[in-house]
Symmetry: C2
Subunit: 424 residues, 2 copies
């Protein structure tokens, strides 16, 4: 009997019927003889609805109380799933993050898992229960207050549990059939990727592939946990995320130059115009962003114009943080001494990702040629060892992704792409 | 600075606006310099909605999981109230029953408070916080599972906390202006009772007065906690529940024969016809009810007819348990050997309550005369030292209550009755 951890996202447990469907899926795994631990998200839009309620009560809800409020969502779905399983004759018990021993830092709304003390989980598994843990939450090491783990947190909870329980693998059930060579909504000929390395998955996630959250992949890589991403709406094979050595020869990505094309329409660009080209001025700009807890993605600093002694700094950030960023920068306009701010959220990011790049020269050239051939201007560029990302005009995003997908030979030969689910 | 405990029911925190209103009420108490601990119920119909959800998922939800599900309601309102208070500049922190140290028995759905270990509450009060505790819930002493305390439980939580914290008194905020000489919806001339003894309040509660739950009054009496029942929708004086010695002379109830008339339309009557008049047959009937965890109220056993050697047993029980009771009894029909079961839920209970009865003879006669004068037949009778209850036909209930209210001189002299609130 081997241990496995399964995680089901909110869209997989959106209502009573979905919860029963998920229960049947879990019951089948249990019948295969596995010892199953399940991490569950809140039902459908519950978290958003609770957030709305909080803002009806308070213009700026305290983070401690917001965590107390939001964590009830996963507790509800966990309890309901346990009821549904028991009806199927499968013994099940639900646990809050705190009961499950998920110990975190104290930072409400974005806590990190410090350790997991799985005493009660181990006991529950020993009793033969399917053990259901409310995702996204834990308890603060020092204050013993309820905390939430921030975005992608239920995936991270599942992988952390898989590690501490010595699980054979971690299944992440979502509303898509796995990781594709491109977003099938943009590229209908995109192919499911049967196996992908942690490194490539991290680049895909960082570049906008929403299927699995970056932090969760990092955690899986560090702990060496094999992750199986698949749909809770089908029994299709999905995508395995593994260490390079564990990837089946036939699927090893050296054979292909490029693993996939990621796209992200959720970023905006800020250009700080006319920054005096003196030591520390640019740094100060990013201090301000850091203080506002805004994550910067790409950065370009133009060569300073000798005549003016001033330079422009452009960077991208999540569109949702755009207005806060502009306010924060304007607040220090005189201190930094820039001339003006330009804000543009009509941009899209296209990323070409593949370990194959290391050994194949000319990928950049081929990518840029494909964009040029489609009249697409490149606004910003950033690269890693196995990724090239460019910013283009938002209206050109889809064309750019399709062009790259074709150029690197990723289009299916008529193989139908299964894309179940409710969208994320 | 004196400590007080306040409890707000679900109808007092039905939506965001109500929560803010309650927050302002608490802020005023805090400004008077009191150290305030608040026990809060779930918002409006939240508990019913969660219950519906559970039954959508499972025909018979496990009680452990049901408790995990239902307790989220109070956690949500507690967190929201804390947010609202902090917005008013009043430091506040919310705690789950478990965090507040409410240790209970293991019986899910109807656990009893074993003890309260108020370490975190004391710490929070010492920090000057309004300390908000999710009502209706605790944690099981042995299993450490989340439990719920059953009906009237938030009142009990509040009174238990008042006792352990050494509070000056416990305020129960509800949607009515206090305890009245009769249900003002039935008797418009009913008067608010300014002060009432624990014993009378217990009889009123047992006899159907919903304002305060019997178990909570028992607890207050045992701990000697003064309870102030009042409306969260007004600043009206409400009703004090106290020990007899603490009742102001002017309000002492010896001066009046009768304190109030209680009515209850929620009971049904079962008559077991033709029970062999042998030792243990009747007892067996009530064993069956006990096994089904159904509370019996009034019992009448007719004199056995010598000719047949059989007798009839009638008893009243909550209407909501009626069908279960009938099924349970029919299952043992042959064993008990009765002839048939009669079920009647068209009944009402009228109770006359007052410590004055002890010293005033003739109360029973006056009561029955009033009923006779209104053509109301008495079906069953039960009495205690300070209460007389009768069962009448449901359609006659209101008339019976009004008649008793007038007979015992409880009608107001034109004084308007304030009856705010949303109904319970």
């Amino acid at each position: 009997m081997s241990r496995i951890v399964q995680k089901y996202g909110g869209s997989s447990v959106a209502d009573a019927e979905s919860i029963k469907r998920v229960a049947r899926k879990i019951a089948r795994a249990k019948q295969r003889g596995d010892a199953v631990t399940v991490v569950i998200s809140a039902m459908g839009d519950t978290t958003d609805e609770l957030m709305d309620l909080a803002y009806q009560v308070s213009p700026q809800p305290q983070t401690r109380e917001l965590d107390m409020l939001l964590t009830t969502g996963e507790r509800q779905s966990a309890a309901l799933l346990a009821m549904a399983l028991n009806d199927l004759g499968v013994k099940a018990r639900s646990y809050t993050g705190s009961q499950a021993g998920v110990i975190t830092t104290e930072r409400h709304g974005d806590a990190r898992i410090v350790t997991i003390t799985p005493g009660r989980i181990e006991k529950s598994l020993a009793q033969g229960n399917v053990t259901i843990v409310a995702g996204f939450q834990g308890v603060s090491q020092d204050t013993k207050d309820v905390t939430t783990l921030g975005r992608g947190a239920s995936d991270t909870t599942a992988i952390a549990l898989a590690a501490v329980l010595g699980a054979k693998y971690c299944e992440i059930y979502t509303d898509v059939d796995g990781v594709f060579t491109a977003d099938p909504r943009i590229v209908p000929t995109a192919k499911r990727i049967p196996e992908i390395t942690y490194e490539e998955m991290m680049e895909m996630a960082a570049a906008g592939t929403k299927v699995l959250h970056l932090r969760a992949v990092e955690y899986a890589r560090r702990e060496g946990i094999a992750v199986h991403v698949r749909s809770s709406f089908s029994d299709n094979p999905g995508t395995w995320v593994k260490g390079h050595a564990d990837i089946a020869k036939g699927n090893q990505m050296e054979e292909a130059m490029i693993t996939g094309i990621a796209s992200d329409a959720s970023e905006a660009k800020i250009t700080v115009v006319g920054v005096p080209d003196e030591v520390g001025r640019a740094a100060r700009t990013f201090d301000v962003m850091a203080a506002a807890e805004i994550n910067i993605d790409m950065i370009v600093q133009n060569v300073s114009a000798v005549s003016t002694g001033r330079t422009d700094i452009s960077f991208t950030l999540p569109m949702s943080d755009g207005q806060r960023a502009v306010q924060a920068l304007n607040a220090v306009k005189d201190e930094i001494g820039f001339e003006e701010l330009l804000y543009d959220d009509q941009i899209g990011k296209v990323s070409v990702i593949g370990i194959g790049m290391r050994t194949h020269p000319g990928v950049t050239a081929a990518f840029f040629d494909a964009l040029a051939a489609n009249d697409i201007n490149i606004d910003m560029i950033s690269t890693s060892e196995i990724r090239i990302s460019v910013i283009v005009e938002a209206p050109k995003l889809a064309t750019a992704v399709q062009a790259a997908h074709t150029t690197f030979g990723l289009d299916t030969n008529g193989e139908a792409v299964v894309y179940a689910g409710t969208g994320r």
